[in-house]
Each structure stands twice: as structure tokens, then as C-alpha cells.
Symmetry: none
Subunit: 426 residues, 2 copies
């Protein structure tokens, strides 16, 4: 019977990571995939191209986990040491693998390049190791197992372009035969309620729930709850998540949930949900942006297929443009200033009439860092929504301490959320 | 005399990192900054929100390095444990800091939100610790020092938006007093020449230079060269960097350099340089965007002070809007289709005339993933530039293999670069 793998560690090797020259996307990629397989990751580590530090880090990782996955250090040059270090840790000799050497030769021929001598190092394989073919490069991956200690090390090449397909096509099937449960996660996307308020409404579920767990993540003014259940099969895990979800939806948090997505399908965004619902209903949207300066239009058109739902947009930074392009009355600008609900309403109405869209959203306010007044400090933003039913406006008081980027992002998110509510009310 | 800090470790705390939900950009950011200070990083680690594992990881890191920098786990919720764990490791009691509590209260008042009780946890400070004000959120950072062991832990909040400015403005000055040499770096920003071409022109400088070093970084179609010199004082290091820069500017790379910035001043952007030069010359710009959908306007208005230079912008996804808002002739659309140099030229001209700007830029093309044709595969983008001297256009053939996001970003960057060249020629 095969041993079951329950815990794993990720050990990335490379001085370029320690210098901050590259961001460690491999650790995130491998962690996400392992979570989907129900294998727990409690540690990720990075060491440089030093044999002593790599030996120590490997020993520590093997003392804590059933499985260690390394990335990097399999190349042909003198500072690529992972293969040798793992073989030494397991007391295995390295042997030249003729089939691997032939693969490397073929690769060079196909690329029209000459194979330098140092490349043959990549054909050295610890005795008894399983070789993982590299479809995207020369260095093969390796699976090395110590049956007596029930420990496994998977060695993968560093470049994500090589690591990711190798892991998906060759390592996942290997691991799937050695796990005995399944994890399933739902991402619950919330807008318009802060993290601490969400937690106060769902305190028991978040602190006492063990299976499923409910964990909060914050990102640019949004809160996401990750609901994760562990069970014997996906159906059972999915059902457990649905029960926790029902609890969330019945609480006061429910009214602020704008999307629920299985984590295997990625993440939702306010703009993605709005575009999908616009397309579904055959409706269109337009934008009239002052302080967000094109950000709302940019986010809407980030979404593939948005051309069916986005009629058009205006960026009107100056009063002159608000009047010339959107028909905002000079009297309104004079009487209320450009930072006012009245101007936001006229901007939205103007954009809707000029484009013929079903819904138009507008923003006018002070993103900072300069330009604040006593009545309108930095972070004050007026949002307008116009539909055939008329206009409504909202005043946001975002923190003047926040960055320009934050104020603009939050203002755009509120505008997208309000547009969605207006759509649902049409 | 203060102790000198020579080695550091980075310890990131967060279950979301171990689940692969987010990529660890903090580790890369902190590593890069520490390298600039001449502080060596030999290990990066990630642990979850578990007090036992965090305690062990912290003890291990402190046994190996003079300085440990943590990120994450400083928030208000039950699973934020870094503050408590570090205080316990140093044998220090946590005490309520009245000034910090007042800052948090003020923050909530300003945001118009109610402060929940759990937020006061963030005002608990290990006795004797130095508090680092958080300009972007509620959780302050902390510097905790054990003088007898000559060990320091710096605790930073997890969100990069909070961590990065806190590190730059409050931790760097602290560390600079505790290192014994000076590094000075220049960022040389290049647009319009690929990395391998840049390297072929500057091969000797990049491979053989030891002090200063010249290292390339690629980002969204741009190449940045980082020139770093080490010396006894800043003046000497700066002079060494200037000599390498002279070498770069005399090569063929020089014509593609759009900005040179000391790394302490951050990074330049195409939009930032364009806005600065527009303001300097008292000129204005307008945009007419189809496939970039507001991205150019968004990037221009990312820049504080851009209101003096950005006249206005249009997002015209449909042919109807190109005609109604920008005056593109239906005949041109019929004869050449919307993906053509002719339409790009008329869009730019229309935007310039409608807004009265000195320069207008336009984009029309296919960002993908769908919609490509044989003549115009995905990645084909036409850019138009209009000034009083007339219109000119450029056709970009970006790789159809690239993502929608990449095509839009590159198209916007080319448009910004062309607008800058048009400005310099006015």
C-alpha cells in the first residue's frame, strides 16, 4: 500500500529571489495546487545557491513534512546544486541516465543550438528516482523517495513556464494517488462592509469553524471570505461549504455579497459581475469620470466581451469639458462647484443621453493629495447614477490620509457597485 | 555606539500565502530594498496564522540573522498574532499605547465608520518598542530590539500598500544609521527596445561590471536598468553611477531612455514623464480610446497634478460612438473598418478638436482573446496622434499569444511614448 501524503513544504532555491529581482510566483502556484489536492502547506522557504544552507533547509523541511517540493537549481551551471544536495541528503549516488541525455541532445538539435558540455550534468539522476520529462526546457524534474522514512522530495525547474506544466501533467497524477481526502473552497465576495464589521456578524463561524473554515481577506476596500471544507469527496465538501454559505447569506453580511465563486474558477470582480449581468439582460452602461479619470471605463473594458455592454465613456477633468461634452449647466457649476451631488447628477445624465446607454455612472471629487477644502477634504467623491427613472447621487467620505490611488480605486468600486444595484432595479 | 546590521531574514505571516491565494510581493520588495542598503538576506520564510509555528520560525530566524522583518498578522482579528508572538519571544509585556489608540480612533472618525472593540488590539505595543505610524491603514508597525543579544525585529503590516511606504519612509532611515557602507542606485527607464537588444549593446558593462553593477529588469514591455555603486559615501557612489550612465547614453540604447531617477526617489513612468513635460511646457493632451477602453486616461490621471495637462478623454468602443462623439466619418469606417490607420487618425483628430487639446492620442485594435481576423490578428492595434501639424499613425503587431491585459498595457504605453515624442516636436 502506498503511503498517504498529508503535509508538504515548498523550498525555492535561487539567489535572484533573495535579491528581490523576481517575485516568487512558484510558491503561490504550488501552494494553490496542493491546497486543491487536500495537502496542507505550513511552510514556504527560500534559500540561495549555497550548498550548506540548502542542506540545512532541506533537512528542516523533511523533519516537518511528508513531501518537500523544490523549485530551481536544476540547470547546467556551477551554482545549480539542488540535484546533488537532495541525492546527498537521501544517501543516493548520482548516475548518468542515457535516455535523459538523449532528450537533452534532441532539445538542442530542435532549437538549432549546440549543446555545451555542462548540459550533460542535467542527465545525472539519483539512483531509483523517477524522471519527469520537461516539455519546455532541458532540465528534467525528479521524484526522489525514501521509503523507510516515508519522505518524498519533488525537484522542479525554476522557470514558471517549465514548472507549471510539469507539475500539472506529471506531479498532480502522482500525488492524487497518495491523498485520501479532498478540499473544496468557495470565495464569497463582499463590497460595502468592512472586515471588522463582517467579523462581528460572523464571529462564531469564523473563530470556531474548523471544517468548513471561514477566513477573511481584504483587498482594495473589499472583503473576501474563503469557505473551505475537507471531506472524502468533492460532493460532500461542496455541500458543507453550501451550508456555511447559507449561514452567511442569512446574516446582515448577505446583502453585501456580490459574488460566490468556487476557488477553482478564480476570483470575481465588481466589474466582471456587472458586465456579465448587463450582457445577460441586454443592457448597456456609459461613464462620465472626473476624479477617477478613466479608471471605471478601464475596469469595465478589462473584461473580455465588455464591448457588448459598454456604450462609451467620457473623461472630463475640467469644468469646460463637463459643460461642452456632457452638457453640465454652467449655472450648476457656479452655484454648487464641481464637487457636488448636482454636478454628479448632471454628468451622469449627460453621459446617458449622449450615448444612449441604459445606465450611466459619474464621479466628481478630490482624489488628492492636493486640492482639498474644508467642506470637501481630500477623499470626498460624489457619484451619480442616471437611468430612465432619473438620477440619484451618493457622497463618499474616504479618508484624506489614503493615497490618490486608493481614493480612485474605492470611488470606482462604489460606482460599479451602485451601477449594479441600479441595473437590478431597472 | 549602535550595532551594525549585516544580515536580515524576511518572515511573512499569513495563511493566504500558504494557500497560494496571494503572491508574496512583500518578500521581493523587502529583499530588494535590503540589498540596496547592503544588508544580506539568506532566507525568506512564510508561516501561517499559527502561534507555535510562528514562534519556532521567529526563533530560527533570530538565530541566523541580526535583523528579522515580519509582514502580516498585525490586524484587529483573532488570527493576527505577530505582535503577541514577538513580544513573547523577547519577554516583553504588551501595553496599551494611548497615542496609537487615538490615531486609530481618529482614523475611524475620519472614515465615518464606527470603531469596533477588536481594533483597540492594534494599540497594544511591546514595552520599549518604537512605533511606526501607518499612513495608509490602522495597524502601526513596530521596531523591537533586544540590546543584549543585538537582535532586532521589525513588524510591518501585510498589505503592500501599507508596508511599502512604511518601510521606505520609516524603516530605511532607521537601518541606514546601522549599516557601514553606502549603496547608491540609478533607475534607467527604457521604452521601445527589448531586453536582449539592450543587453547586446551593453554586454561588457552588464556582465563584467562589479562596481557599479548594471542589472536589467523587465516589466510590461519596458526595460529598466538598475545601476548600483557601493562606496564610502553617497557622493562617491553617485559619481560612479554617473560614469556608467554616460556609457549607456552614448550607446544605441541612449535614444530609448525616457527617464533616469535615483532609486531613492522611486520609479518613473511614461505617464509621469509625459504629464511633467506637458505641465512644464504649458501644453494639454486628450484621449480617444477604443481597445484600451480608458486605460490611457486612467494612467495619465494616476499622476497627481495631471488636471493641469489632461483636457479630456473619450471611450468609444462602438462605431456609433466613434461617429457621434468623435466625428469619425461613417464612410471611413465602412471603407477601412474600425481597425485601421484612417480611423485611428480621425479619432485622434476628433478628440483634439472637441477638447481643444494641443495633442490627442487614439487607439483602435483587437485586445483579444476573441475577435481576431486574418488581416488583423489579436494584438493588432492602430495608434493615432493629432497635433496642429496634422495626424500620424502607427500600427502595432503585438503577439496574439499575449493576454488581453498585456496587449492593452503595451498599446497604452506606445500611445504615451508617441504623445511624448509629439510634444517634444511641437
Amino acid at each position: 500500500m502506498k503511503e498517504t501524503i498529508q503535509t508538504a513544504e515548498i523550498l525555492c532555491v535561487g539567489t535572484e529571489l533573495l535579491l528581490g529581482d523576481i517575485v516568487n510566483t512558484n510558491a503561490a502556484y504550488l501552494s494553490r495546487r496542493l491546497a486543491e489536492l487536500g495537502i496542507c502547506v505550513y511552510h514556504q522557504s527560500v534559500v540561495g545557491d549555497s550548498p550548506e544552507r540548502l542542506t540545512d533547509a532541506l533537512a528542516l523541511a523533511l523533519s516537518r513534512a511528508d513531501l518537500v517540493i523544490t523549485s530551481g537549481g536544476l540547470g547546467p551551471t556551477y551554482d545549480d546544486l539542488t540535484r546533488e544536495t537532495v541525492a546527498a541528503a537521501f544517501g543516493l549516488p548520482l548516475e548518468l541516465d542515457g535516455a535523459v541525455l538523449e532528450d537533452i541532445r534532441t532539445y538542442f538539435t530542435r532549437m538549432g543550438r549546440v549543446m555545451t558540455d555542462n548540459n550533460s550534468r542535467q542527465a545525472m539522476v539519483p539512483r531509483g528516482a523517477r524522471v519527469l520529462k520537461n516539455d519546455q526546457g532541458t532540465a528534467p524534474g525528479l521524484i526522489v523517495t525514501d521509503e523507510t522514512r516515508s519522505k518524498t522530495v519533488v525537484l522542479l525547474p525554476g522557470p514558471p513556464r517549465e514548472l507549471e506544466p510539469m507539475f500539472d501533467t506529471r506531479v498532480v497524477p502522482y500525488l492524487r494517488e497518495r491523498t485520501d481526502c479532498v478540499l473544496f473552497s468557495l470565495n464569497v465576495h463582499i463590497f460595502g462592509m468592512g472586515e471588522s464589521t463582517v467579523e462581528s456578524h460572523l464571529h462564531d463561524l469564523m473563530t470556531e469553524g474548523k471544517n468548513p473554515t471561514v477566513a477573511p481577506y481584504c483587498k482594495a476596500g473589499e472583503v473576501r471570505l474563503r469557505v473551505t471544507a475537507q471531506a472524502e469527496n468533492e460532493e460532500a465538501a461542496r455541500e458543507m461549504c453550501q451550508q456555511a454559505l447559507a449561514h452567511i447569506m442569512e446574516s446582515e453580511v448577505g446583502a453585501h455579497v456580490y459574488a460566490v465563486v468556487p476557488s477553482s474558477e478564480g476570483e470575481a470582480t465588481l466589474e466582471g459581475v456587472l458586465i456579465r449581468e448587463l450582457c445577460h439582460r441586454g443592457r448597456t452602461v456609459a461613464t462620465a469620470e472626473s476624479c477617477t479619470g478613466g479608471l471605471i471605463a478601464k475596469r469595465l473594458t478589462d473584461i473580455s466581451g465588455s464591448s457588448a455592454a459598454v456604450k462609451g465613456g467620457f473623461v472630463t477633468y475640467t469644468n469646460e469639458m463637463k459643460t461642452n461634452l456632457l452638457g453640465v449647466s454652467p449655472d450648476t457649476l457656479e452655484k454648487y462647484t464641481e464637487y457636488s451631488e448636482q454636478v454628479a447628477a448632471e454628468m451622469a445624465r449627460g453621459a446617458r443621453l449622449a450615448t444612449g446607454a441604459d445606465i450611466a455612472v459619474s464621479t466628481t471629487g478630490i482624489a488628492g493629495p492636493g486640492g482639498g477644502t474644508e467642506d470637501c477634504p481630500v477623499g470626498t467623491v460624489f457619484i451619480g447614477i442616471s437611468t430612465e427613472a432619473g438620477e440619484r447621487t451618493v457622497r463618499l467620505n474616504l479618508s484624506p490620509q489614503r493615497s490618490r490611488d486608493y481614493v480612485r480605486t474605492l470611488a470606482a468600486s462604489h460606482a460599479l457597485s451602485l451601477a449594479r444595484h441600479a441595473l437590478l432595479a431597472l
